[in-house]
């Protein structure tokens, strides 16, 4: 999730896209990723190289790629949508790619970046999510059995405050800085004109580039990723709610998706008559007279088009009340016995 808008927050989009890229490279398909980007940097008019988002100076690595799929864009990234995605309380017509379809055996990785403070994370410069809300959302997820284990990574200023309030089991959290510290950005690129990435995510990306789907690296290595000498801020982590020992948790448990493939030598013969079967089943209805295309600009028909009849509505409250008043006054003045003269 990238929560920042405006061109000078390019680095937050680059952060999110780097993690997205690593996660896709390690095997998680787009159908299992919900990517939220609060602003569009790649096709921003200020981007000197359209359709690219770089993470390294000298434009070495284009993290935007050629097959990115963003699920929530621009104004759709709001606190409400984020919480709805997490808890699953989504309007029924939401497409599948925008839902978190997880169950009690899913491991979920949540990565958030943006501007934050002590106990809150700012969404698009207009609203905030607090650590209490986030903790409650995770508790809802736990009670609805929407996750097996959850890894929460946050790269903002004072990020550690966001995981202080978690109280649901099986959550591990990492943050790029402690309370009272700012997370700093890595390096600016003079051609693009903005800072390209944040330090913590930069070193996390370097770390993840070494991981391949079969690697046995565990979480303790991830905790060591950005020491104070490189990151200037002190990254923090929280594992007390997690049941397993971080030593035994593989990175690929959260960042990758390894699927078991069984190879079989049996052959399956497909019914070659399938197409024939279909054509026999479907007999098209033929029209009795030729169909035709509509006229694109039937001037005569348009000019003589009658205006749409307005639907008749029964008179509303005010009109009824007014008429009732008039009739009451009338009968009070003149009395009922004069009615027979009217009818």
């Amino acid at each position: 999730v990238c929560t920042s808008r405006f061109w000078f927050n390019y680095r937050h989009v680059a952060n999110t896209l780097s993690v997205y890229r690593s996660v896709k490279r390690l095997g998680i398909p787009d159908s299992h990723i919900v990517l939220m980007l609060a602003d569009d940097m790649a096709c921003n008019p200020r981007n000197p190289k359209p359709a690219t988002v770089f993470s390294h100076k000298n434009m070495e690595l284009n993290v935007y790629g050629d097959d990115v799929e963003v699920d929530y864009r621009s104004y759709e990234v709001t606190v409400e949508n984020f919480l709805r995605v997490l808890t699953g309380r989504i309007p029924p017509s939401t497409p599948r790619s925008k839902r978190l379809l997880s169950d009690d055996r899913s491991n979920i990785l949540i990565y958030m970046t943006g501007h934050g403070g002590n106990g809150f994370l700012k969404f698009q410069d207009s609203e905030e999510i607090t650590n209490v809300e986030l903790a409650d959302a995770f508790e809802q997820m736990w009670q609805k059995r929407r996750y097996n284990e959850l890894l929460f990574i946050i790269d903002t200023c004072q990020g550690a405050s966001m995981y202080e309030r978690f109280y649901s089991p099986n959550i591990m959290a990492l943050a790029s800085s402690q309370v009272g510290e700012d997370s700093l950005s890595h390096q600016p690129d003079l051609a693009i004109g903005v800072h390209l990435m944040d330090r913590y995510t930069f070193y996390v990306l370097e770390f993840l580039e070494e991981i391949h789907p079969a690697s046995q690296t565990n979480m303790n290595d991830l905790f060591q990723v950005c020491p104070k000498s490189l990151c200037v801020s002190t990254p923090g982590h929280r594992t007390d709610l997690f049941q397993r020992d971080p030593q035994n948790v593989l990175i690929t448990d959260f960042f990758g998706s390894v699927r078991k493939v069984e190879i079989t030598t049996e052959t399956v013969s497909l019914d070659s008559d399938l197409a024939g079967f279909e054509s026999n089943l479907l007999k098209d209805e033929l029209a009795t007279e030729p169909l035709k295309y509509a006229e694109q600009l039937p001037v005569a028909q348009i000019i003589h088009q009658k205006p749409k009849q307005k639907d008749w509505h029964p008179p509303g409250g005010f009109i009824l009340g007014l008429w009732a008043l008039i009739i009451m006054v009338f009968f009070k003045t003149y009395g009922i016995k004069h009615m027979k003269h009217i009818f």
């Binding site: 359709a51 050629d66 963003v70 621009s74 925008k98 006229e295 600009l297 348009i302 000019i303």
Partner: protein
């Protein structure tokens, strides 16, 4: 008697279609044609229009199909489930400059545009419309779920169906535009996935996002409509056209030279045709301008040349057929290059017959005026045009200030339909049929007032401004040369976009610029500032006043001091310093 004969015939048919007929000889029910049209534009840019057309001889709405081959399943199920008769979705970045570039083959307004005709069997059109926009937002990664009643209109005269239609009840039509929608790689990716060959073979290998978005205009669209299956038109086929139009500014990116090639534009060349396509062609517009000798030269030499009358003009095209074996004999890849033999005079720019311009004028943040200028440059023919304007509710239009002036005199429209807006529920809809006299400029002005929104309704970046979507001009432009009726299957795809009615005019749909209007925006940091300031003032003033009134002073006896103090005083006496 007849029953036995019919049974025998049926048995024969079944036997003929039995298991012995696998392979060639069976007519497939769907077909793919792909086409690329490269046209150099008068001002030096190059327009490339890709069209991928899948035609499927099946009856989708009846929902009895379950085997999808070339037609994408996502769209097929959408059409069947929601009772869609026609669907047109376009995502565009940039603006087509009609005055300098000429008439567009198929234009779309900036942002996202969706218009749909539903089948007459659909009971609740609004509900189907809402579901449709949500499903499409998931398929195309666009925020089409923002389409709701505040930006949807039901035009009454424009947007007639482009496919077969049994009568046009405009209650079944919905039209919406999201002018703020951004188009980027994430919209191109699912669009490419819908193609039968993906982006791995055929013309789609040229579609690389890094080059496509570095352009002046990029528009990708999906059109689904029912068409005639054959000349007799007794059966219905479904057509899916995916079009992508991109305009490259070769002048600025080509070091000052106007020569271009496929490699320069797309950083790729063509190596083969899509194996699933029945036709795969590249057309290059080499029409001589002003009847002079050709000033441009195309390499490699085309195998054939095609002449047609397109948009009222006689045009010549060089044709490269990717499925013909002789094309890749000399080299394994096809890189079409075009060189200009002599520089073109800038005074030769031909103006298109119909073009329009729209702008907002006025000052301040309370009122303003929207002006639309429509130009008819035909020397002697007049023709009518339908103008459709959709204005959001927060710009309150005053229809009594609507004026239409042509050549200094007032021009009364033959048909006018105005639906006023309802705050937060419906936008303004203004549709007019205006007759444009020959060689004239028509100016349409309407004044508006800006509304103040509730503070929760502002977007996170309200100082950017609010967009007013493009207005639509639909016209039957008279053509100089009479056009023949085209046979859809034999002629190139770019000639059969709009169904032609007669040969004397061609249908064109133009869009004007979108407008950016500033609404009076409050300063959102003010509540915090006000609280701080007020609290400070209250604390200082009231606090001081309260202290003055209620503080009393008491005299306090000094204490004798402890042991440490007495010792310190003794030492100080010795030093000569006054005691504590």
């Amino acid at each position: 008697g007849t029953m036995a004969a019919a049974a025998l015939l049926f048995l024969l048919l079944v036997a003929a279609a039995g298991p012995g007929r696998a392979g060639a000889g069976r007519a497939r029910r769907d077909a793919l044609r792909e086409e690329l049209l490269l046209s150099p534009l008068p001002a030096g840019d190059v327009a490339a229009t890709f069209q991928f057309r899948t035609r499927w001889d099946a009856d989708l709405p009846r929902g009895a199909v379950s085997h999808y081959r070339l037609f994408p399943k996502a769209l097929g199920r959408l059409v069947a489930a929601l009772g869609v008769q026609e669907l047109h979705l376009a995502l565009t970045q940039g603006f087509w400059r009609t005055r300098t570039w000429g008439q567009p083959p198929l234009q779309a307004p900036a942002g996202a545009e969706l218009w749909v005709w539903f089948q007459p069997t659909v009971m609740d059109v609004d509900k189907a419309w809402k579901e449709l926009s949500n499903i499409l937002s998931g398929i195309f990664c666009a925020s089409l779920n923002f389409i709701d009643s505040t930006n949807t209109v039901t035009p009454t005269a424009s947007f007639k169906p482009l496919g077969l239609a049994n009568g046009t009840d405009h209650h079944l039509l919905r039209y919406a535009v999201l002018p703020r929608e951004v188009v980027c790689t994430e919209n191109l990716t699912p669009w490419k996935k819908l193609l039968p060959c993906g982006s791995k073979a055929g013309l789609a290998v040229l579609l690389k996002a890094e080059r496509l978005f570095h352009s002046s205009y990029h528009s990708q669209a999906v059109h689904i409509r029912p068409i005639c299956r054959d000349a007799s038109c007794l059966a219905v086929s479904w057509e899916l056209r995916q079009t992508l139009t991109v305009v490259f500014d070769t002048f600025s990116s080509g070091q000052g030279k106007k020569d271009w090639s496929l490699f320069k534009m797309f950083s790729r060349t063509l190596t083969d045709a899509c194996p699933l396509a029945s036709q795969s062609k590249v057309y290059v517009d080499i029409s001589p301008k002003n009847k002079e000798k050709e000033l441009l030269e195309v390499t490699p030499a085309p195998a054939s040349v095609y002449e047609a009358i397109v948009q009222g003009d006689k045009r010549t095209y060089a044709v490269y057929d990717l499925l013909s074996p002789s094309l890749f004999n000399t080299s394994r890849s096809l890189n079409v290059q075009l060189k200009w033999k002599r520089p073109q005079d800038s005074s030769e720019l031909p103006t298109p017959v119909l073009h329009a311009q729209r702008y907002v004028s006025g000052y301040g943040l309370q009122t303003g005026e929207i002006s639309t200028l429509i130009y008819n440059t035909h020397p002697y023919r007049a023709f009518p045009v339908i103008l459709l304007e959709t204005v959001p509710w927060y710009l309150r239009l005053y229809v009594h200030t609507l004026t239409i002036i042509t050549k200094g005199k007032e021009n009364k429209p033959s048909y006018i339909h105005y639906q006023p807006a309802q705050d937060r529920r419906r936008p303004h809809l203004l549709e007019m049929l205006i007759q444009l006299p020959a060689n004239s400029v028509t100016k349409i002005t309407i004044q508006f007032e800006r509304a103040l929104l509730k503070w929760t309704e502002y977007t996170p970046d309200p100082n950017h401004g609010f967009y007013v979507s493009s207005s639509v001009l639909s016209a039957l432009v008279p053509s100089i040369i009479a056009m023949k009726d085209v046979d859809v299957e034999q002629s190139p795809l770019f000639t059969s976009l709009f169904p032609s009615s007669d040969g004397s005019s061609y249908f064109v749909r133009l869009y004007t610029e979108p407008l950016l209007v500033n609404l009076p925006t409050p300063d959102f940091s003010m509540p915090y500032n006000v609280i701080c300031l007020t609290c400070t003032v209250v604390a200082v003033c009231y606090g001081s006043f309260y202290n003055l009134l209620t503080r009393t002073f008491h005299v306090e006896e000094p204490s004798r001091g402890g042991l440490a103090k007495r010792l310190a005083n003794i030492i100080r006496k010795f030093r000569g310093v006054p005691p504590l």
